[in-house]
Amino acid sequence: MGFLGYILISTGLVFFLGTTIGLLRFPDFYTRMHAAGKGDTLSTVMILIGCICLVPMDLLLAIKILLIINFIFIGSPTATHAMMDAGNKAGAVPWRKDSE
């Protein structure tokens, strides 16, 4: 069970790396927010599930971590949506391939 925990945490870190590369390399505000929002939530949830697998004997702690996962799963995409909405209303223009 502990070994599974380490694998999950490492996978979460790999997804974080992907998120960071996307944040730096994408051409546009919307695509960057897309990468950041999705990759961020997924990596955090994976790392937290890995943490659950590392403490299987302490049931109360596992339930608390599950609740944290629940709230991050609701809050982080909402924050991404709020930022994208704000960018849209402030007038950010989507990148088009021909405008390069």
Binding site: I74, G75, T78, H81, A82, D85, K89
Partner: protein, 344 residues
């Protein structure tokens, strides 16, 4: 090599934190500077948690990284200023840089005399701290040493700290608050109006409506469980304040003001300090010193040590109430430019 657990990780984080500080000061876009400042606070929070200070890290995460960033962003939103003016004055900055480097060199010349990082026999650990560690559970029946020392052994400091938060709230109130009736005649034309209404989004409203009760429940848990786990009055109070700030941000400021009117807010800010001071006075009436909770054992259930534990809980509740309403009042003042009608 220092022997702290995973010292390489700590060294890396310390170098990163300096990088963050430099970046936060050199970004010209002020919103970006506010966000990097929030990231700097989170990084500091990680370092402190790694060095064994979880209560401090909890407070910094709630206060420094959460509420501070909201205050700075509210100020920027209200004034409409987003970019720092590109100035010259490089000679002045270099001169200050030289002065600061000389001062830093003076401070660093004391480096060889400091005790090693992480040494158990340094002078800090020699005098009062072992007494607190050994005797907390016998005296006050509270396993969290930080909470018991904060609220019991060093109760005066915490009372005055709560008063400082109260004074800051009053100071901001008296600086910012303007009377709406006199606005037309006296004040010059101010504030850039917001370009859109932030409360348009259904998703944000529904998500915050879902999260606010759980945030408040968690905050009450943090205050009550501060005896046994990292937590206590400050952290719980800030989380409670943050839950209502979330309501103000995602709905409308007027929505929050309909639930909690201005008079209620300012009365309750004072009520927390009053509760703390009243507990101390009650101890005097029972025959002991000011804030000596052991003498409340005739009124509260249990022996002397349980009475001290309950006394600590009462003052933590007082601290939590003051901090909660202070954070809300400061946010409303900063976000609505003192006019309490609409804002971030």
């Amino acid at each position: 090599m220092p022997e702290l657990p995973i010292w390489q990780f700590d060294v890396l984080l310390l170098i990163l934190v300096v990088v963050f500080a430099v970046v936060a000061l050199s970004i010209r876009n002020l919103m970006g500077a506010a966000v990097v400042f929030g990231a700097y606070s989170f990084m500091m929070c990680l370092i402190w948690a790694g060095m064994g200070a979880v209560d401090v890290a909890f407070t910094e995460a709630a206060v420094g990284a959460g509420v501070s960033t909201v205050f700075v962003v509210s100020t920027l939103y209200n004034t409409g200023a987003t970019m720092q003016r590109r100035t010259g004055g490089l000679a002045f900055k270099l001169f200050i840089g030289v002065v600061v480097t000389v001062a830093g060199a003076f401070l660093l010349s004391a480096l060889p005399d400091f005790p090693k990082w992480g040494a158990p026999d340094s002078p800090v650990n020699a005098t009062v701290a072992p007494y607190y560690i050994l005797n907390t559970f016998e005296d006050a029946h509270v396993p969290n040493i930080v909470t018991s020392v904060l609220a019991d052994y060093r109760g005066f400091d915490t009372l005055l700290e709560t008063t400082v938060v109260f004074i800051a709230c009053i100071a901001i109130y008296s600086i910012m608050r303007v009377d709406n009736a006199k606005l037309e005649t006296d004040e010059p034309a101010i504030v850039a109006a917001p370009r859109y209404d932030p409360s348009d989004s259904l998703i944000v409203r529904q998500a915050s409506r879902f999260m606010v009760p759980f945030m408040q429940l968690f905050a009450l848990y943090v205050i009550a469980h501060g005896h046994y786990s990292p937590g206590g009055g400050f952290q719980g109070g800030v989380i409670l304040g943050a839950s209502l700030i979330l309501l103000a941000i995602s709905f409308d400021l007027k929505f929050l003001l309909r639930q909690w009117s201005e008079k209620t807010l300012m009365l309750l800010v004072a009520a927390g300090v009053f509760l703390y001071a009243a507990v101390g006075l009650a101890c005097v009436f029972m025959g002991g010193n000011y804030l000596d909770y052991g003498f409340l054992d005739s009124v509260l259930p249990g022996e002397r040590d349980m009475a001290r534990s309950h006394g600590i809980l009462l003052v933590e509740i007082g601290v939590g109430i003051t901090v909660m309403f202070s954070m809300i009042a400061i946010h409303i003042n900063l976000a609505s430019n003192g006019r309490f009608d609409r804002g971030l």
